[in-house]
């Protein structure tokens, strides 16, 4: 079974397998970095980047590193669906050859599990590389105990502590398992019969359950800050719990956002591409919603960071600002890295929607719809979800995180407006980049010659 699954994983294309492996490698590497930071003693005998070196802010950094795996996992979810059309034919052929539905499901799991496991093991390499390039510098024996050493460069991976072998093994197994679970989740509505494959379309429109998480995030954060403000632990934990709930809420609200926007825009669309995009969103909002889900979370952190910058500029002495602004700069870098994962998710979604609708895209081309028209429809479909998610997340972050922690001032207003504009521009650029990556598939899909074969 594993041998067959492995051959099918190769048949699915090296690109897909590498993308799956790449995602789990990044997740595994990030989790190992998180664990290593968590293992540091209060005063480590190595010089590290200030935010990691300081025991008070270290937890927040580790949390941020772990949160970076969310976009990678969302990209993994999308990558599983890459090449779905060819995969569907293979699985149907297996059923025709006599494989039971259970066997086909297991083969499908192996098809995802093998690259996910390979990637998880490669994650150890990612961790070692990060440690090589961004590792702390040993200060053992140079000074007395109880001194915090700050490095000049961005050295955020501790080298004085290393996870035990079982922690490495557990992380690899956990991440590989997570990859399989995500893969199975992506296929949970698929029914493979010997005559082909059908996707059980969920006829129910998505519900805005994410609002519950958002409210939970606000209330949990507020309650903890009001009632346990004096506790050092709660003071750090409250914003982190609130961020997890708010990011979770925004991610789960994305399909509902896609559905609502799709329905509303479809009624008012004035051009063909926008009409096509809006109807696609309204009829099947989940794939586009999932592809753009991480944008809301990125916006949330960006908005919060922008408001924090305003607070720092308002309250902190100029000579002390560098410490805080440097840390926020690092958050900005992390957000840009997350945005790269989002570009991947958007590109995979775009390719899959083209391949899924190959026949209707080809007939559109036969009617006189150019590849530019289809590209505009693709851009509108993604943009209609991603831009509002990004802008909404940024506003939410600025109001909830920023204002609660830094206060509402004129500078806050300016920072929020700037963050919204930058986020909208970045999301639009990410969409453009994703479509640039999908150009070859787009041109192939709009080749009217597909009418013979699609």
């Amino acid at each position: 079974m594993i041998g067959l699954g492995w051959r099918l994983a190769l048949a699915a294309g090296q690109g897909r397998a590498m993308l799956l492996a790449g995602c789990t490698a990044i997740v595994c590497g990030l989790l190992l970095v998180t664990q290593t930071i968590a293992m540091l003693p209060q005063y480590p005998d190595e010089s590290l980047y200030s935010v990691v070196a300081d025991a008070g802010t270290r937890g927040g950094f580790a949390f941020g590193a772990a949160m970076l795996s969310v976009p990678a996992l969302l990209l993994l979810f999308q990558a599983v669906r890459l090449g779905t059309s060819a995969r569907e034919r293979r699985l149907a052929a297996l059923r025709l050859a006599g494989a039971t539905p259970g066997e086909v499901r297991r083969i499908g799991a192996v098809e995802v599990g093998v690259p996910a496991a390979v990637g998880a093991v490669a994650g150890i390499g990612v961790f070692l590389l990060l440690r090589l390039f961004f590792g702390g510098v040993s200060m053992r024996g140079c000074c007395e105990e109880g001194v915090t050493f700050y490095s000049a460069g961005v050295r955020f991976v501790p080298t004085s502590v290393t996870p035990a072998w079982w922690q490495f093994a557990l992380t690899v197994v956990l991440v590989a398992g997570l990859g399989v679970v995500v893969g199975l989740a992506a296929d949970r509505r698929v029914v493979v019969s010997p005559l082909g494959l059908t996707r059980r379309h969920d006829p129910r429109p998505p519900r805005p359950w994410g609002v519950v998480l958002l409210l939970g995030g606000v209330m949990a954060g507020a309650a903890m800050l009001v009632f346990w403000r004096d506790s050092d632990v709660v003071d750090v934990a409250a914003p982190l719990v609130a961020i997890v709930l708010l990011v979770g809420g925004l991610v789960s609200l994305a399909p509902w956002t896609a559905y609502v926007i799709g329905r509303r825009v479809a009624r008012r669309a004035r051009t063909g591409p926008v009409l096509l995009a809006a109807r696609r969103l309204a009829s099947d909002p989940r794939p586009a919603g999932r592809a753009a889900a991480a944008v809301g979370g990125i916006g949330l952190v960006a908005g919060g960071s922008a408001a924090m910058v305003a607070g720092i500029l308002d309250d902190v002495q100029p000579e002390d600002r560098g410490y805080y602004l440097g840390a926020i700069g690092l958050v900005g870098v992390a957000l840009l890295i997350s945005l790269v994962a989002v570009v991947g998710s958007l590109a995979v979604h775009s390719v899959e929607s083209l391949l899924d609708g190959k026949r209707s895209v080809a007939s559109l081309a036969a009617l006189g719809g150019s590849s530019e028209l289809v590209a505009r429809a693709q851009r509108a479909e993604i943009g209609l979800v991603a831009v509002p998610m990004g802008v909404g997340g940024t506003l939410l972050g600025a109001v909830l995180l920023g204002a609660a922690l830094a206060g509402i001032t004129l500078l806050w207003l300016l920072a929020t407006v700037a963050a919204v504009l930058v986020m909208a521009a970045l999301v639009w650029a990410a969409i453009g980049l994703a479509l640039l990556l999908t150009g070859p598939w787009l041109r192939a899909a709009t080749d009217p010659g597909n009418l013979r074969t699609a």
């Binding site: 063909g272 096509l276 109807r279 696609r280 080809a362 010659g449 009418l451 013979r452």
Partner: protein
């Protein structure tokens, strides 16, 4: 039947090592109803798609209204198809997410008609093809015959000079197929459009002004 509208000369088209068209020459007049028949794999659909400017032949010439199609860029051929041709395929190939009226209005919207006006014209065509009640239904909920009538309305909505139809009744039962054919011929008669239709069905071919039989990539 005097004005020559489409002219093909020594057209050749291959898919890999398989030659689908081996030097086909053919003239089609304005308003003519032409049936292209022949066994499977004889090159019927390839000829139709080449005449419609959808496929580009490797050799030979295809002219429409005096203009060489092979000299036109992809964008120019796309615009030509949008304005002058209507295309109906075997399974309709409607855009699944759009309602029937939106599918029909789409070619007009691509030509930058206002949405309201495009919808009005589209509804008019659906009414004329006895499909007015289906306007707000999505393709997944239409029967094969209903979907073909909607596809026909979509092909006719820009008042094309030529309607290319590839087995438009091939997936329909006899009654539904007859309804679609009657609708197609009535609409073409009303607008003066030529019809170029690929079919396996002798009864369908018998309705045409002329029948061209394909065999192994040539006109038999």
């Amino acid at each position: 039947m005097t004005d020559q509208l489409i002219s093909a000369r020594a057209v050749r088209k291959a898919y890999g090592r398989t030659e689908a068209l081996r030097g086909v020459s053919l003239d089609i007049s304005a308003g003519e109803k032409l049936a292209i028949t022949g066994p499977s794999g004889s090159g019927k659909s390839t000829l139709l798609l080449s005449l419609a400017g959808i496929l580009r032949p490797e050799a030979g010439e295809i002219s429409y209204d005096g203009r060489r199609l092979d000299d036109l860029s992809e964008a120019e051929r796309t615009r030509l198809r949008r304005r002058e041709f209507g295309v109906v395929l075997q399974f309709g190939q409607l855009v699944p997410e759009l309602t029937a009226v939106e599918n029909v209005a789409l070619p007009l919207m691509l030509e930058r008609h206002a949405r309201a006006s495009a919808d009005r014209i589209a509804r008019g065509w659906l009414e004329r093809l006895d499909a007015g009640a289906l306007a707000d239904v999505v393709p997944g909920e239409l029967s094969g015959g209903e979907a073909q009538r909607v596809a026909l309305a979509r092909a006719l909505v820009t008042s094309p000079r030529v309607i290319f139809a590839d087995e438009p009744t091939g997936a329909l039962d006899t009654v539904a197929g007859e309804q679609v054919l009657v609708a197609l011929y009535d609409a073409a008669k009303e607008t003066g459009a030529a019809i170029v239709m690929v079919t396996h069905d002798n009864r369908v071919a018998a309705r045409a002004d002329r029948e061209v039989r394909m065999l192994d990539g040539t006109i038999a």
